[in-house]
């Protein structure tokens, strides 16, 4: 008697959880179904025919996916190299040196995010057009770097701030020069945080659409651009397959970040 009463209380909770699961996994299931559907039209609830012929065409030498994927990865890697290359000295300076306007500098990095994207990118595109950067990899990478630098610098600053200054002083006391201390002590200890910020920047770059569209198209095609073209052309199979390809690194890297970005670093973000 008593047991059934307790059981009944679970029903609303189970319903709630079920709805939540549907909200999260429903679109994903739809995506997966579309990626393997050969034939699917209204009013059928499920595809009429399954197959991988669209996958074959996406990855065929004639399909654009492989080139777009390669381009996306190249741009993302270059963005990471640039952003982290800038974020290491910048983050160290912000974390360790007594800089005036430290808070203001951190805030300035946020500005590209603070304004509506479209006018910013239209203006960048106009500027880049004048100096011949439009439609080049360098142009797209620069746009992505302005975007990625926020994550990179903020997380790098947090990663360096989380390191106890005495660890560096101990190295100096043992006879290491400032540079040697940075190489042997600071950098290895900050490495997990820096790796996490690199992953963030990589994912941001992989996903970035607006800036790439204005500065890169039509010469540069990345996966999001391909997704947009396929989606607006009503080609849901190509769009879904592209979306799945974009999803994989995100999930993989989220696991990496979860492992490497420690609480003591996270607590220092933006300080």
């Amino acid at each position: 008697m008593n047991a059934t009463m307790i059981d009944l209380k679970w029903i609303p909770r189970a319903l709630g959880l079920g709805l939540l699961a549907f909200a999260i996994f429903g679109p994903l299931t739809n995506l997966v179904l579309w990626a393997v559907a050969e034939k699917w039209y209204f009013p059928h609830a499920l595809p009429l025919q399954y197959g991988f012929s669209y996958w074959v065409s996406v990855f065929s030498p004639r399909g654009n996916a492989t080139t777009s994927l390669t381009m996306s990865v190249i741009i993302a890697c270059l963005t990471v190299v640039f952003s982290i290359g800038l974020a290491i000295p910048a983050g160290y300076a912000l974390a360790r040196l007594k800089l005036p306007f430290r808070g203001a500098i951190l805030l300035v990095l946020l500005i590209p995010q603070a304004f509506p994207n479209l006018p910013v990118y239209v203006n960048i595109a106009r500027l880049f057009y004048q100096i011949g950067l439009n439609g080049t990899v360098v142009g797209v990478v620069l746009v992505h770097v302005t975007h990625g630098l926020v994550y990179a610098v903020w997380i790098a600053t947090a990663a360096f701030s989380a390191i106890d200054r005495e660890l560096e002083e101990a190295a100096r006391s043992m006879g290491a020069s400032a540079l040697r201390t940075f190489r042997d002590v600071t950098l290895p200890i900050a490495a997990p945080g820096l790796l996490a910020s690199a992953v963030f920047v990589f994912l941001e770059s992989l996903d970035e659409f607006t800036g790439t569209y204005f500065v890169g198209a039509p010469d540069i095609s990345t996966l999001p651009l391909l997704l947009y073209t396929a989606g607006s052309g009503g080609n849901y199979q190509i769009a879904s397959i592209t979306a799945l390809i974009l999803l994989l690194p995100s999930i993989g890297f989220m696991l990496v970040i979860e492992r490497f970005l420690r609480a003591d670093v996270l607590s220092k973000v933006g300080r």
Partner: protein
């Protein structure tokens, strides 16, 4: 100055605050000096200045005649053991201890031998491959010490290295460190706020107060001949009584007060004081009797009379809280006196520290 480490007229500022107000200190080669003081007295700042992490605004620091005032920490040939140990978490015990040798380009075989020697000396043989996170507090402390000793520093600097250890381990490590320092003949400067630690470990104690040196001397000197009210209080003479004194030749006349008898004591090494003064003494350095018994002699001792208000037994001696009107004293005695008992306390002249009252 004939010292090995010479510090002269050194002043250090942090922003607007002057932390060190002109320090003069000379440390002989092989000497173990303890910087003792309450928190905020500037002792850690002085140590960090010696190590090169603070730059003095004024003054000069030299080692064996070599001026190092403006040299960075890595050029000074010192090794600092931090209160937090500051072991590098990404390196093993072996790598931590061997890091200084790696920097000095010692060849790997010799370096390994030296690291093993350090581990043997400190009882860390089995722990070479562990990371600092896998060690106990005492083990980390020894790794920090091993890392500093491995490079055979000219001067070993210790910043409260024992304060993070359990009380029991602390007692043994004290003796280990000072035995090691004597065996290796290293010059050492040790910062501590623990009076007993300084007394047990150091050849010479430097008591600091408010960015200045209050007194320098052997443990016996600072304990038995404090030169100021501050040092007397810091060295444990916490009982204070206000008296009137008059210096006559080599004697001090103590006038009769509301809670003390008139007395005449030898001036000894004391500075000449006349007029209002304060007397300090340690709780265990006195003789206590019931008021009814034959009176204690006022010759060569200060006799106080009061009432016992509290008795406890911390071990060894009975501890009494005795009230002299407004003044509260703590007095230890072999025998127990009941609460409410009227007592007489005799402070022998050797245990009585008298300073002028302002």
């Amino acid at each position: 100055m004939d010292g090995y480490l010479d510090i002269s007229q050194t002043r250090v500022r942090y922003g607007d605050a002057e932390i060190l107000k002109g320090i003069d200190l000379s440390v002989r080669k092989g000497e173990f000096v303890a910087l003792l003081g309450a928190s905020g007295c500037g002792k850690t700042t002085l140590l960090r200045t010696i190590a090169g992490f603070n730059t003095p605004t004024h003054g000069r620091i030299s080692i064996g005649g070599r001026d190092v005032t403006r040299q960075p920490p890595d050029k000074r040939g010192m090794a600092l053991v931090f209160q937090s140990y500051a072991l590098w978490p990404h390196m093993t015990v072996d790598q931590n201890i061997g890091y200084g040798l790696k920097l000095r380009r010692v060849d790997p075989a010799t370096a390994r031998q030296r690291v093993d020697e350090m581990k043997g000396l400190l009882g860390l043989q089995m722990l070479g491959q562990r990371k600092p996170a896998e060690l106990s507090g005492g083990q980390r402390q020894r790794v920090a010490l091993g890392r500093a000793l491995a490079i055979s520093p000219d001067i070993l600097l210790l910043d409260e290295p024992l304060s993070n250890l359990d009380a029991r381990i602390r007692l043994t490590v004290r003796h280990e460190i000072s035995a090691l320092q004597r065996r290796l003949g290293i010059t050492a400067v040790h910062v501590t706020h623990d009076r007993e630690e300084a007394m047990v470990m150091a050849d010479r104690i430097v008591i600091m107060n408010g960015g200045e040196i209050a007194q320098t001397g052997t443990p016996q000197q600072v304990y038995n001949q404090p030169n100021s009210d501050f040092v007397a209080a810091f060295m444990g003479a916490e009982n204070v009584v206000e008296i009137e004194v008059n210096a006559v030749w080599n004697s001090l006349e103590i006038g009769e007060g509301p809670h003390n008898r008139a007395a005449l004591i030898n001036r000894g090494e004391r500075p000449i004081v006349s007029g209002k003064a304060i007397a300090r003494f340690r709780s265990e350095a006195v003789e206590m009797k019931s008021a009814g018994e034959p009176a204690l002699s006022g010759r060569n001792a200060l006799v106080l009379h009061g009432t016992v208000v509290q008795v406890s037994y911390p071990g060894g001696l009975w501890r009494h809280v005795v009230h002299l009107g407004e003044v509260s004293l703590i007095v230890d005695s072999q025998t127990r006196f009941d609460e409410g008992a009227a007592v007489e306390i005799a402070v022998p002249e050797a245990a009585l520290y008298i300073f002028p009252r302002h």
